[in-house]
Symmetry: C2
């Protein structure tokens, strides 16, 4: 089984090292991890961003499954680039798995980024008046239920790990789930 | 042509009204707009979030195209729920169109949300040390190039409209593009 390893991990200073650690874990469980190219292409190259896109899309097309890192990124929700890839793989009918190293609900996190109030009709809203999804889910319902229906429910640690960007316990739990599925 | 109308519009206080306006515009251009169910299902219903997911997925499966509102939402980038849907439709091989009512680049917006610095190796990083994509694109390269290759480039206004959540000029430009494509 080939698994596309999506996540904002590609933005870490040690992006290649974490990629190697993730593919090593995959190997130990008898599956093959495919790590995106973002950090392997020189950003100064002409059309670097298009090259990265094409490389990542080809990798996703070659993969049987995705493990997406949905740890909140630069805001209350997951990294949109990663979420695009989760959607793409769901659309292609591939096995969808994901983890988040932040064990709080979306509605619990939003007040750290914007003033949240409750309307007279009990709707939770942000400072722009836009509804804050409040279903007790860890992120937007589209991602959470995509996992429920197209793979396996979001994997989370019991407690927030000391280093949310480098702890691979929840990631390894996803690899174990993938390795158990038929090819 | 049936077009799925994705966007954080479903979180607006007048979500149903904006949905009606969008489907009216579609009708005027000879196409059919399908507006997601989020705001039409009582959030107190048992399994409301799952019902919304299943309804939206069925709507996407019935659509030939998507027009996604990628206006930045609760952070520097697009709404992850909307981005999931764009990815899903790209994965299904559907026509992908999108607009944003915020005509600034991603790298220009990030400093409004986190301290951004440049490393000695010229890498732009946020306060967690994670790279800020700096390709002069309006959002993460996965969404931007998905549009370039699976539909039409992101549509944007020349200037930020007075009301970014209700101005439908860029949306109508997307509808016009979709109406011109073969069914």
């Amino acid at each position: 089984m080939h698994i596309y390893l999506a996540g904002p991990d590609v933005f870490l200073p040690d992006a290649l090292d974490i990629g190697n650690k993730k593919t090593d874990i995959c190997r130990r469980h008898g599956v093959t991890g495919l790590y995106p190219l973002d950090s392997a292409i020189d950003p100064a190259t002409h059309d670097a961003s298009l090259q990265i896109f094409k490389g990542n899309e080809a990798m996703m097309d070659a993969a049987d499954a995705i493990i997406a890192n949905l740890t909140p990124f630069r805001g209350p929700g997951a990294d949109p680039g990663t979420v695009y890839e989760l959607g793409y793989m769901a659309g292609r009918g591939k096995l969808c798995l994901a983890y988040s190293n932040e064990p709080s609900t979306y509605a619990e996190r939003v007040p750290h980024f914007t003033k949240v109030t409750r309307t007279l009709e009990k709707r939770l809203i942000d400072s722009d008046g836009l509804t804050v999804e409040d279903f007790g889910l860890m992120d937007n319902l589209m991602m959470i239920h995509a996992l429920d229906l197209h793979g396996s429910p979001l994997v989370m640690p019991q407690a927030r790990p000391a280093d949310i960007w480098h702890d691979l316990t929840a990631f390894e739990a996803c690899v174990r789930l993938a390795a158990r599925k038929p090819d």
